[in-house]
């Protein structure tokens, strides 16, 4: 049998008499909280903000430019997708959430274009591999849109048309476009 070894624990006892006298320390603590109270109250009364809270959704924090948010498909000058349906993103996607149907492009220089380009955001893990893999810089995750939810699984599948219509975020990282409301309500009404 292993002999029990008792380790002495040195408790912190180096408190001054004033600290051990409970009341004095209470007054110090009350001073701190009352200080916060009056400082914040003064800010509120003079029309400034006396809290660290952001009042979402009216007030939004700026987002970092490198943040991965909702995808969008980059457009050519004529408004058609820049995507050439090479299937790189669909292949690299660890969540298998991208579904592409390729079709022949009328322009022989471009070869292919996506007839369908669906992203199931209910499966997406926002790893950004699709953006990294794309040889044409045709898909980006810079819309700044973080709030997309739907009442049904169908509503989470974003089609080519929806993704093409999205715009990049503004300078503060906040979205300048939003997915259509009909998508969110799908399956609900």
């Amino acid at each position: 049998m292993v002999p029990l070894k008792v380790l002495p624990v040195r408790r912190q006892v180096s408190q001054s008499a004033l600290q051990r006298f409970y009341l004095a320390e209470i007054l110090v603590g009350l001073g701190i909280t009352a200080g916060h109270f009056f400082r914040n109250l003064g800010r509120w009364v003079t029309g400034r903000k006396g809290a660290v809270t952001y009042q979402w959704p009216e007030e939004r924090r700026p987002l970092a430019p490198r943040l991965r948010s909702l995808h969008r498909l980059v457009r050519r000058e004529d408004g058609s997708p820049r995507c050439v349906a090479c299937m790189m993103c669909e292949t690299v996607c660890p969540a298998h959430c991208i579904y592409i149907v390729a079709a022949e492009h009328p322009n022989p220089d471009i070869e292919k274009y996506p007839e369908r380009f669906d992203i199931d955001l209910g499966k997406c893990v926002f790893c950004g591999f699709c953006v990294e893999a794309c040889p044409e810089d045709a898909i980006r995750m810079d819309t700044g849109i973080l709030e997309f939810s739907a009442f049904s699984r169908d509503g989470m599948v974003y089609s080519k048309e929806v993704l093409l219509a999205l715009e990049p975020a503004g300078v503060d990282g906040l979205p300048t476009s939003s997915p259509p409301r009909s998508l969110i309500r799908r399956g609900f009404d």
Binding site: A34, L41, A51, T53
Partner: protein, 361 residues
């Protein structure tokens, strides 16, 4: 006959004023609790309840709370003692409300040849009455703990009883010093006594004549409200406490009782230690400033000033109690017992002895 009717009317008016004051302030305390804690902790606090888009700093939240509590399921455990289970919240709120009746909110109002003492009930032994009502309040909590047929509720009720015994004795002993200095058990007489001055400058408020008594009373008073730092009868992180089986408005009544007790303790502290309705250098005929200047005021203005001073002091005390509640952590059960029996009680007795010695000399 008509004189009796007028007397009856006056009595109703006084009771109505006190009830309205205590209930409204108690209801407002839920808002104060949310907002004050938020401002103290650099937060915004509840502000989303709105009527027609009007938010008013979250003042509608108590209203929303009331609607929510009244429309919730009124659940009762199968093995609960039905009568006691129903009686417990009523007992709690009733005694908390009744406590304020003997606290004076102004001096004498003279209307049409009548002298109306501005306190809901004129009692010779007002202190004992308030004290008794505060002690009775714990019966509601004990009944709740017993009637719920729940071990945690029973633990909570038992803790509340133990806390109340240790706190009430300290309260009683700490008040004795005040009674000795002002020579009365009548809260109105004590408030009048605090209108005297040292050298015509410094008012003889209880805070200055009985500083130790003030600290002891405040500590024991907070303990008797069962709120943090003495909230182990609830102890939501350990036993949840005596109201664990209560829901809806019955639970709301327990919360309400806690807030009303806070207001009662604030009122008691005001009456005993902060000069009650006294305004410094304000006498029955107007201000008599230390320099010798006199500013005569009509009787009605004096009375309004006194009532205003009392209300302001009570609100200040409520703020202070709230500040303490949101600053300190919870005492452990045994720590609070030790503080009550080995800290507050001996100090209160010492306070009595020293006060008696000073008064004799």
């Amino acid at each position: 006959m008509s004189a009796t009717l007028v007397d009856l009317g006056i009595a109703f008016a006084k009771v109505g004023f006190v009830m309205g004051f205590v209930l409204n302030l108690g209801g407002l305390m839920t808002w104060v609790e949310r907002k004050q804690s938020a401002v103290m902790q650099d937060r915004v606090g509840a502000n989303r309840a709105s009527i027609l888009g009007l938010r008013l700093l979250g003042l509608f939240h108590p209203l929303a709370d009331a609607i929510k509590m009244l429309t919730k399921e009124d659940f009762m455990p199968a093995r609960a003692d039905r009568a006691l289970f129903l009686a417990a919240p009523v007992v709690s709120v009733f005694f908390a409300l009744a406590g304020f009746a003997a606290i004076p909110f102004g001096d004498v109002l003279r209307v049409g040849g009548r002298e109306v003492s501005l306190q809901a009930v004129t009692l010779n032994a007002g202190i004992l009455y308030v004290f008794a009502m505060l002690s009775m309040g714990v019966y509601g909590v004990m009944l709740a703990g017993w009637a719920s047929a729940n071990n945690y509720a029973l633990l909570g009720g038992q803790r509340a009883a133990a806390l109340m015994i240790s706190a009430e004795i300290a309260i009683g002993a700490s008040i004795m010093g005040v009674c000795m200095v002002y020579g009365s058990l009548d809260l109105q007489e004590i408030a009048r006594g605090q209108g005297a001055y040292w050298g015509g400058v410094i008012p003889k408020w209880g805070l200055l004549t009985q500083p130790l008594g003030f600290l002891l009373f405040l500590t024991a008073g907070i303990a008797s409200t069962k709120r943090i730092p003495f909230d182990f009868p609830e102890g939501e992180s350990e036993i949840i406490g005596y109201f664990v089986e209560y829901s809806g408005m019955k639970f709301g009544m327990f919360m309400m009782a806690d807030f009303i007790e806070t207001v009662v303790i604030a009122g008691m502290t005001t009456a005993l230690f902060l000069g009650g309705w006294q305004v410094p250098w304000l006498f029955a005929d107007g201000f008599h400033f230390p320099g010798g200047a006199v500013w005569a005021l009509p009787h009605v203005v004096v009375v309004v000033l006194q009532i205003g001073a009392f209300i302001s002091k009570v609100i200040l005390m409520c703020w202070l109690l709230m500040l303490i509640r949101w600053t300190l952590p919870r005492f452990r059960y045994d720590q609070a017992m030790r503080l009550g029996w080995l800290g507050l009680l001996p100090l209160a007795v010492l306070n009595i002895v020293v006060t008696a010695a000073v008064l004799l000399l």
